[in-house]
Amino acid sequence: MRLDHCDLAEGRCFAYCPRTQVDLETIHQKVFGQSYSNIEMGLFKQVKMVRASSSTLRQKAQTAGVVSALMKFALKEGFINGAVLTHRTPEHLPLGRVIRRPNEILSCAGSSYVAGPTLQALNQGPWKDTERIGVVGTPCQVLAMRKMSVSPIKRTTPIDRVTLIVGLFCTWALTYEPFMKYLKNRVSGARIRKLDITPPPERLLKVITDNDQSWDIPLDEIRPFIRTTCGICLDMTSELSDLSVGTVEGIEGWSTVIIRTDLGEKLLSQAEAARIVKSQPLPEENFKHLREASLLKKQRALLRLKERGELEDGYLTLSRELIGRILSEANEAGS
């Protein structure tokens, strides 16, 4: 959507957009001090299954309450002074929100599977100079933040104060307006309280309405509302975060957590020690499935880019060799 004519040669929108030129090698070098080598699901130290100890959290949050528990803990223990999270309006429109008090974290629990302008809250703050910020975001939001942090363009956002990035797993997001319109019709105009997608093999969108009615909608019905840009996204597991959380291939009641950086590791271990969360090793079979799902998303994205004739000169600046490796590993994993 183009709102206004712009003749700016090098603007922030363009530089930070996760769908304009992405140089993963440079980002990895600058953020992690390492080369972009793990093409399956990004650099990581460990993958675990984790759940919040608090049953309240588990109930109110999307799955195992891990993100809410960790962010609450990070705020309490001073890892960060403020968190940028996504809350939903009563109409399920996602918007960014700055949270400074641990008890307010739950106001942002849950998901509406809709893409939202979370980072607007990061940009607008307001922040004090000394504050450390933690952000929870989808892979594209995490990528945008990393692009901000490595961009040569003059700093105008508080990105240097972002010290913790918790990434979410994501396979796609929906476009708000047509999706909600469809959904409202589908549930006969009832007020929607919660949305959830059940794990495979069921894969249903469960809608709970205010009258406590539950509606099961096959995912195929809502696929038309998936944002087209999600089709060329290479990242399922927020590969550029400190710590990624998701449900893919997890075991019910537990989340899969990918620990990527020292900070991510420290946060999880301290939270565990404080009995905020519990963790277990992820069984080999589940890990295999996670790797496979991640690779298949990459494969789909690369094939879509190829269709569009943008495989080599599109937004991704991957070498032919890397592209070849991703595609062959995905083929192997899928076979």
């Binding site: 959507m1 183009r2 709102l3 206004d4 004519h5 712009c6 003749d7 700016l8 603007g11 922030r12 929108c13 363009f14 530089a15 940009n123 607008q124 363009i153 003059k154 105008t156 307006e177 319109k181």
Partner: protein
């Protein structure tokens, strides 16, 4: 006490052309005056309204020109003197009635003043209203000076009464808005009491008889014109060139000849009565020279009619060369001025004369640029229309179906320009945006997949939009109508209208409720504040998704120019200089490059936006368009 109402015969005073017309009507004892405002005619009724109570005149702003003419005509039918004034487009609206009125005739003196706008300085079109006089065969007078405007108007009432026909007066911008000396005449009092003679109907039938009667009346009129002091010749007995002119052309030709020192070579025939032509007078003049140049504004009205006369009586005149618009000596569009006339006469008489330095235009532009900020034609600071078009632009972008915005006449016509983000795509007559929307709203059946949106001001709504809305309801068209209700006829000078609660004479009036009216027509109606751009954008978007029937969104916010006179700013607006990061923002100066309210200025020294406190009206809209939230609005 206004000079217009002073009964001081012989007093010389400076009057605007339109005031002189008003004064002429006052001197003639006019009792009923009605008009719809339209530049350059608005000050006629405007100035009459100021003295109406004092002089016992009834003055009204009518909803449109046709109604205004009908109101003035009613006075005439009852034996009183009536006047209506309008711009050229207004006569198009009133013409349906006029083309029957010519056949029925009038009783009390009835004068229709039409102020044309050559070069369309404040109009959507350029039009020569004089052609109407010929079409409906009514007497036409064209004043050349302010004094003449006053005298002619006064006389027009007498002439109208004598002939039993309405009399047309054609003015143009440079006469209506110029100021000149006028010697006041006596104000006629002791007017008759109104009485409508019910013994016979006033109808155009039987048409063959009334049409014949009209021709007889106009023949009588022609005889009167032959002796009119408003027609004259000035110049040598045997000039090399005879210049036939009317209106302000009279002054331009005199100035041109005087400057060139060619007064002894060219003679001027100045016509004040231009339809029907005073043929005997003209025949005498045409004999004076073999080369005849016509100087008049817009269409070749005199040029063609005198050529027609020549075609009938060439034998008496011999071979003549006619120069003017057809020959290419003068432009056939736009205003004329002394320079243009000088150029034409110079070429014909082969006089070498340079009216002014060739660099004059450039030097003048440079001098002006030092005094005035460089701004393109746009909305005032704090204008609600800017906020409205911002929301329209964003809602249409969100909608993504390449929506069509149909407009018409008012300040909001600027929506076609960058000031309104180029949103408006059509502009024709008053109310024709919604008329076109009626049609576009029926095209979905043929595969048109663009949502239809029309914008209409409050005054325009009353003027011409209501029948189109009724049509839309009846024929079940599908569109969204935005009524930009700024509670003013802003473009023509804030005249009151049926929504303002005031009459032309300053009395309180019941408000004709647009919302209730639209609801009664079965439209889905919402009312919003355009300054809340987010709410407005969402509402427009949401209404565009409703594919059934007519939707009306009334965007209610008083015209900024009216509001600032009455109340303080809504907000104290400032740009937080730390938060505004100028060119580093990446917004590419969204506030001063795109939104472009004159209250926002770009400081080239700091490279940041600022509020120009002298002109900011504190609407607060810009606070919602800054992506950096650097523009702050604080409630006062």
């Amino acid at each position: 006490m206004s000079i217009l109402s002073k009964d001081s015969p012989g007093k010389k005073t400076l009057l605007m052309g339109n005031e002189a017309i008003a004064r002429g009507a006052i001197e003639a004892g006019v009792r009923v005056c009605a008009a719809y405002p339209g530049n350059p005619s608005s000050e006629i009724i405007g100035s009459l309204s100021q003295v109406a109570r004092e002089l016992g005149i009834y003055v009204e702003w009518s909803v449109n020109e046709k109604v205004a003419l009908e109101v003035a005509t009613a006075a005439s039918f009852a034996g009183l003197r009536g006047l209506t004034a309008m711009k050229q487009n207004g006569l198009n609206v009133a013409s349906d009635f006029l083309f029957n009125l010519n056949l029925t005739g009038s009783k009390g003196g009835l004068v229709v003043v039409v102020c044309d706008d050559p070069s369309a300085l404040s109009s959507t079109n350029e039009e020569d209203s004089r052609l109407y006089a010929k079409m409906c065969n009514l007497p036409l007078l064209e004043p050349s000076t302010v004094q003449e405007a006053q005298k002619m108007t006064r006389w027009a009432f007498d002439l109208s009464e004598e002939l039993g026909l309405p009399c047309l007066i054609r003015s143009v911008t440079r006469l209506s808005h110029a100021r000149g000396n006028a010697e006041l005449g006596h104000i006629t009092k002791n007017q008759p009491n109104p009485q409508f003679d019910t013994s016979r109907p006033i109808i155009p039938q039987p048409v063959m008889e009334t049409h014949k009667a009209l021709h007889d009346k106009i023949k009588k009129c022609q005889d009167r014109f032959e002796e009119s002091p408003f027609n004259l010749y000035r110049g040598p007995e045997r000039p090399e060139l005879l210049v036939v002119t009317c209106g302000p052309g009279w002054m331009y030709v005199r100035e041109a000849l005087a400057n060139m020192g060619a007064e002894n070579r060219a003679g001027i025939v100045k016509l004040g009565t231009t339809w029907p032509l005073p043929t005997s007078f003209l025949m005498e003049q045409l004999k004076k020279a073999n080369r005849i140049l016509f100087v008049e504004e817009v269409d070749p009205f005199l040029e063609n009619n005198i050529k027609e006369l020549y075609a009938q009586r060439a034998g008496e005149l011999g071979v003549k060369t006619f120069l003017g618009k057809a020959s290419g000596n003068l432009p056939d569009i736009g205003e004329i001025n002394p320079d243009i006339v000088t150029g034409a006469i110079q070429q014909i008489l082969e006089v070498s004369y340079e009216p002014r330095s060739l660099q004059y235009a450039q030097e003048a532009a440079e001098a002006v640029s030092l005094l005035a900020p460089l701004r393109e034609l746009g909305f005032c600071a704090g204008c609600p229309h800017r906020a409205t078009y911002w929301s329209v632009k964003n809602a249409l972008a969100m909608d993504g179906r390449d929506g069509i915005v149909l407009g018409d006449i008012g300040c909001y016509t600027l929506g076609v320009r960058p000031a309104g983000f180029g949103q408006v795509k059509t502009c024709h007559a008053m109310g024709s945006g919604v008329g076109l929307a009626n049609g576009f709203g029926q095209l979905e059946r043929f595969g048109l997949n663009q949502p239809v949106l029309t914008v209409c001001g409050d005054s325009t709504f009353y003027h011409a939009a209501i029948p189109a809305l009724v049509n839309a309801r009846y024929n079940q068209s599908n569109f969204l109508m935005l009524i930009l209700d700024n509670s003013a006829t802003a473009m023509t000078g804030f005249q009151p209208h049926p929504g303002t609660g005031r009459t032309a004479m300053g009395a309180e009036a019941p408000v004709v409720d647009i919302e209730a009216l639209c609801k009664s027509l079965g439209a889905r109606v919402q009312v919003k504040n355009p300054f809340d751009v987010q709410d407005t954008t969402e509402t427009i978007y949401e209404l565009l998704q409703d594919r059934e029937g007519i939707k009306v969104l009334i965007l209610k916010q008083e015209c900024a120019l009216v509001r600032v006179k009455r109340q303080k700013a809504l907000y104290k607006v400032r740009v937080n200089q730390e938060r505004c990061i100028g060119q580093d923002c990446g917004c590419n100066r969204r506030c001063t490059r795109i939104f472009k309210c004159p209250g926002l200025v770009w400081d080239p020294v700091t490279g940041k936006a600022q509020i120009d406190e002298a002109i900011c009206t504190g609407c607060g809209t810009c606070a919602d368009i800054c992506p950096q939230s650097a523009i702050l609005k604080e409630t006062i």
